[in-house]
């Protein structure tokens, strides 16, 4: 049920498109594909928390081709459409980087002595963004929210993202901008709002949502979540931030070059 609600929120958010100067059809399709693949991977990481943190010997579902196949399944269920063709270098690179991120975390994931590995959706998404940032392909993707509420200072919104969020916070819609810049070069930008989902509340909600408090008397509850941060007491009606995507225009035109 929890997953269903989350999926519904995501689907809804992607159906609400709007604003600014629209990119051309090809660029918009690529931006949409990238964002939806990225969000599907976050959902998969959430779904697999028991496997990530558990002591199972076989965690192969989290690595390599299995990982990609499982993210594809999530995508198909969530958006009720086929997984996009990996017909552009940027999409191929995104998918490969997901595999790389999980490989980099392999020692942690396989460590039976650690109960909580810290590989939650936001952390996975951040690692993905960080790895993509050094590949020099003119692609930047990040999960951000309004600057006063940000936990990781490296995820703080830039001016464009702050402006967009102030415009859409009361009426969340996907925001496109065909006149953006990235690394000083012309770029397409897209901001996809992400409504709060029940799973977000485990960390960002009230103490009653904190799994560390389950089964304990109220007076023994902690306000610190499992990642070590103070909980924000947000609810499902709060703004959940969003996925900000920037792709250099030269990248869009460069298909299958590598």
């Amino acid at each position: 049920m929890r997953h269903y609600i989350f999926s519904l929120f995501l689907c809804c958010s992607l159906n609400l498109q709007a604003q600014a100067v629209q990119p051309n059809e090809k660029a918009q399709a690529l931006l949409d594909d990238i964002t939806k693949i990225y969000m599907s991977s976050m959902v998969y990481i959430f779904q697999q928390q028991p496997l990530i943190n558990g002591n199972e010997q076989d965690k192969s579902a989290l690595f390599g081709d299995n990982l990609i196949a499982n993210i594809q399944d999530v995508y198909i269920k969530k958006y009720n459409e086929p997984f996009p063709l990996l017909d552009h270098e940027t999409k191929k690179l995104l998918v490969q980087t997901m595999v790389d991120v999980m490989n980099d975390n392999r020692a942690l994931i396989q460590d039976p002595e650690l109960e909580f590995k810290g590989i939650i959706p936001a952390v996975f998404a951040f690692q993905l963004s960080a790895q993509l940032s050094v590949k020099g392909v003119g692609l930047k993707i990040k999960f951000t929210r309004t600057s006063d509420d940000i936990r990781n200072v490296l995820n703080k919104p830039d001016q464009w993202e702050s402006n967009v969020m102030s415009k859409i916070i009361d009426n969340p819609k996907i925001y496109y901008d065909a006149n953006g810049t990235l690394n000083g070069k012309p770029a397409y930008r897209q901001f996809t709002p992400l409504p709060m989902a029940p799973y977000c509340l485990q960390c960002d909600g009230e103490p009653k949502h904190n799994p560390l408090n389950y089964g304990k008397p109220k007076k023994a509850w902690t306000t610190i979540d499992m990642t070590g941060f103070e909980m924000e007491n947000w609810t499902l009606t709060d703004f959940g931030g969003g996925v900000s995507l920037s792709v250099e225009k030269s990248n869009i035109d460069r298909e299958g070059t590598h």
Binding site: D100, D104, E113, V137, R151, N152, V153, T227, H258
Partner: protein, 242 residues
């Protein structure tokens, strides 16, 4: 006669290709898994560099080295380049772009493990060992952790050892994947997490005695290649095609 012709058939192309090079560029390699590995499969970085050197008209010759000797030979001019090197390790000239980046992190004894290092308030009062001469990420430098400098050439292994014995709470490592990997027999009690989003650049060091003609040729080919497909992108492509 048949053998002689066969030998000629093999030697001729080798001679022809050797003649196409303007000379040999000697590159010292420091072990840096998974990019440079000192076993049969030497890792992907030498292959990438070889392509650059050949593109500049020279032939690459790789020589495996330990860091101290590598720097000595670089300064003497017995090798032309040494890689990879973090700029703060030694005051040497480097090519204009870093060849790769590592993500620094903290290694803990497992019972004190902190998985998410953006939660810097959890560093309060931690005693964190630091290898001398490394760039410290802002998240750690501005935290309330007590930083303890560990000096010496073997500072990293001593720091990890101190962590494992519980003498310090954590140790700052420029590339924790060198310590924390499956089946490492040396440090079984240690687990590491990374400062994602922070990078330490690793460079290609240049000998002060290199011929300027060689340096210019390699440098310009290096920049061109990095702009076309940098090493990290090349690595992604290699992994995808595996």
């Amino acid at each position: 006669m048949r053998n002689a012709l066969f030998a000629l058939a093999i030697i001729c192309p080798i001679l022809a290709s050797a003649q196409n090079y303007q000379g040999v560029v000697r590159i010292g390699l420091l072990e840096y898994p998974p990019h440079i590995v000192f076993d049969d499969d030497i890792g992907p970085l030498p292959g990438y560099m070889s392509k650059i050197v050949e593109g500049s008209g020279y032939q690459a010759k790789f020589i495996r080295m330990l860091p101290e000797r590598g720097l000595r030979e670089l300064n003497k001019g017995n090798i032309d380049f040494l890689m990879p090197l973090k700029t703060m390790e030694a005051k040497v000239s480097v090519l204009s772009l870093p060849i790769l980046h590592s993500v620094p992190g903290l290694c803990f004894k497992k019972d004190k493990f902190i998985p998410i290092l953006s939660a810097t308030h959890r560093f309060d009062d931690l005693i964190v060992g630091m290898p001398n001469g490394y760039y410290v990420v802002d998240a750690l430098a501005s935290s309330q952790a007590m930083l303890l400098e560990v000096k010496g050439d073997d500072a990293i292994s001593r720091g990890i050892d101190l962590t494992q014995r519980g003498r310090i709470d954590a140790f700052y490592h420029p590339n924790p994947s060198h310590v924390y990997y499956e089946g490492n027999p040396t440090y079984k009690e240690v687990a590491c997490s990374s400062f994602h989003g922070y990078f330490i650049a690793a460079n290609i060091a240049v000998s002060p005695k290199i011929k300027q003609q060689v340096l210019h040729a390699v440098e310009s080919q290096f920049v061109e290649q990095m702009q076309s497909e940098n090493y990290e992108l090349y690595l992604s492509r290699l992994r995808r095609n595996r």
